[in-house]
């Protein structure tokens, strides 16, 4: 049985044109993602992982090819529509956290709700709910500087979850963490996946990639393999 495609990428290329020099960051990328999948994108530094994730997250436009999200050709979306989709369909997690230093954990998590249509009266409750999902309820009044690396990343995940998106896009979420903390963060992401969230994680660490069901490998901007994971984490069937 086949689920509808959440993401459909067809012959996507990204070429950075700088003066006379053209860099092809991505060439001829095609793959589909169905709802509920957990995908890891792997590849060496400079292979185009982040570029791909930015395109998937509507932060960037492909130079060529078609990217459909929920069966909508994203090339036809206006900037405002793209912002709205980023807000309520996509959750971002960054390697560098990007938490606002001046505001509390709770306010950081509430940030995306500023741009959502959720009534203001529900913002705090919704943020607390997202913080409960990542087990950060006891830290809501802390400032980011008072958090450990793992706590910071869990706050970022809560911020990504707060608008209840369809897909979580994480660019090296464990890149700034030691391996034990990294594992707990991946356990958390795995847990969210089991609750039905679609997840795409960029990593160049195999232990992190092993949490995924499917691994897409990039080299020089091209997909060199797209396979189900062989890792033993998966005791369940797709």
């Amino acid at each position: 049985m086949s689920q509808p495609n959440l993401i459909e990428v067809k012959n996507v290329a990204k070429i950075y044109q700088e003066d006379t020099v053209a860099t092809a960051a991505l060439t001829n990328i095609s793959f589909n993602v169905t709802e509920g999948e957990f995908i890891a994108i792997m590849g060496a530094s400079g292979s185009g992982k982040s570029t791909l994730l930015h395109i998937l997250g509507l932060l960037d436009h492909p130079s060529q090819g078609i990217y459909r999200l929920n069966n909508v050709n994203t090339a036809e979306l206006t900037d405002i529509q793209r912002s709205r989709i980023r807000n309520n369909k996509i959750g971002f997690v960054f390697q560098a956290f990007h938490l606002l230093a001046r505001t509390s954990v709770l306010e950081n998590v509430m940030l995306p709700l500023q741009y959502s249509s959720l009534p203001r009266s529900q913002h705090i409750a919704r943020a607390k709910q997202a913080l409960a999902q990542v087990d950060m309820t006891h830290r809501i009044d802390h400032k980011p500087s008072q958090l450990s690396g793992g706590e910071k990343q869990r706050t970022c995940i809560a911020r990504a979850l707060v608008t209840q998106p369809q897909v979580l896009l994480a660019d090296e979420p464990t890149g700034n963490l030691d391996s034990i903390t990294g594992n707990t963060v991946m356990e958390l992401i795995d847990h969210l996946h089991k609750q039905g969230l679609t997840i795409i994680v960029i990593t160049h660490e195999t232990p992190t990639a092993d949490y995924a069901q499917r691994i897409i490998k990039l080299r020089d901007g091209q997909i060199i393999s797209d396979q189900l994971s062989q890792a033993r984490h998966h005791h369940y069937q797709k």
């Binding site: 930015h54 980023r86 807000n87 606002l100 500023q114």
Partner: protein, 410 residues
């Protein structure tokens, strides 16, 4: 939400925020102060003019002063002479006229023994002083029409002048020297303070005939003060006066008038025009400080946009549109300048209060504290507009930032 976000980021750096708005604060203080004091001074003079009553007309030589040359001509003018006074006093010429009191101004040192004082000396009539300003001597008497006819060398002096020349001893009957003439004091006015920009305590009144012919040796008057019948139409009386003077001067066309006539209403209107022009001019100068303040705001907002590149990238990644970002930064610059406007207006209000208080207590000027609502509105309004205008460029710069580049920014 927008305001809360803006306040949070401004309060993150309160010292810088305050320094940034200093230029705005100073500009707004200047503007509000100029307007409030200008309006207050005008109100003060108008109310004094109104106390004066509407039944008077002032005649001066020269043309209606519209340009600096006109004003000089009016000050130096010598066209109004004794025959004009006689003509005006004839009831068939100007029926509404009650009295005609010509005036000349004498400057110079008054001395008594070792004491020297520089009073403002009017050659006038004593009753004009009494009718016009409601002041009569506290000690002694006034001079009479007979004194004027005989060019008596007598004076009624203000309280300060008496104090400076004669100290605590009795002044009546003593004579001070003025330009080689001995003038006998016949009356002393009570302390009266400032009336219409004259310090009544520093004046002396002598018969106009004495001042004109004996002290100054001239044959013209600098001003003629006419009281009119309260039942007469003041404009008709003014017209009668013009006609009389034209006939007396042999003038056929109004354009060739070598004198001008002012009613109370003319003076009030003129005063309003002068205050307005002056206020506008000063406000324009003060606005330069606002301009400088605005450039400061723009500068600091540009710094802030650069410092917060990551924040802008993040906000865009989680769904902020360009206009969301634009509005956020505009809100910040407007809050900055509007706060500056509020602080500036507050300080200006305090300064107006202090200035009027000093005027009241130190100079006995009945100047009520007055802060025109218009000045408050203009102060806060202009500050807000500065925030808007000078905030647009930085806000636009923030709004157009590429989220990916911003997130990567080191």
């Amino acid at each position: 939400m927008l305001l809360q976000t803006a306040f949070t980021s401004l309060l993150a750096n309160p010292g810088r925020s305050l320094l940034t708005i200093l230029g705005i604060v100073i500009g707004i203080i200047a503007i509000v102060l100029v307007i409030a004091l200008g309006q207050g001074a005008q109100n003060l003079i108008v109310s004094e003019l109104e106390n004066f009553g509407a039944n008077f007309i002032i005649i001066r030589p020269g043309r209606q002063p519209d340009t600096p040359t006109d004003i000089a001509e009016s000050i130096l003018g010598d066209s109004i002479k004794e025959k004009d006074i006689f003509a005006l006093r004839r009831p068939e010429n100007a029926p509404g006229v009650v009295s005609v009191d010509p005036a000349v101004l004498v400057t110079g040192e008054a001395t008594y023994q070792e004491n020297i004082f520089r009073p403002m000396i009017f050659g006038w009539t004593a009753n004009a002083m009494e009718d016009g300003f409601g002041i009569r001597p506290a000690i002694g008497t006034t001079f009479t029409d007979e004194d004027i006819r005989q060019r008596a060398k007598v004076a009624i002096i203000g309280a300060t002048m008496k104090e400076e020349l004669f100290g605590s001893s009795d002044a009546i009957g003593r004579s001070f020297k003025l330009r080689g003439h001995n003038i006998r004091v016949i009356g002393v006015y009570p302390p009266s303070g400032q009336i219409m920009s004259f310090n009544m305590d520093e004046i002396a009144i002598v018969p106009y005939s004495t001042a004109q012919k004996d002290i100054l040796g001239i044959d013209y008057y600098v001003e003629v003060f006419v009281r009119t019948d309260p039942d007469a139409d003041i404009e008709t009386v003014a017209e009668d006066i013009r006609a009389t003077l034209r006939e007396s001067h042999g003038i056929t066309a109004a354009a060739k008038d070598d004198f001008f006539v002012w009613t109370q209403k003319d003076i009030v209107n003129r005063l309003g025009l002068i205050t307005q022009t002056l206020t506008l001019f000063l406000v324009a100068i003060a606005s330069i400080s606002l301009l400088v303040g605005g450039i400061g705001i723009m500068n600091i907002m540009l710094v802030s946009v650069t410092e917060r590149t990551h924040e802008i990238g993040l906000r865009k990644a989680v769904g902020a549109t360009n206009s969301n970002i634009m509005r956020q930064f505009l809100a910040e610059s407007i809050i900055l300048t509007a706060t500056g406007g509020l602080i500036g207006t507050g300080i200006a209000a305090a300064l107006v209060f202090i200035i009027t208080w000093i005027a009241q207590t130190q100079y006995q000027i009945a100047w009520p504290f007055y802060l025109p609502p218009f000045a408050i509105l203009l102060g806060i309004g202009m500050a807000t507009i500065v925030g808007l205008v000078f905030g647009i460029y930085p806000a636009r710069k923030a709004a157009l930032k590429d989220p990916i580049v911003s997130l990567r920014y080191e």
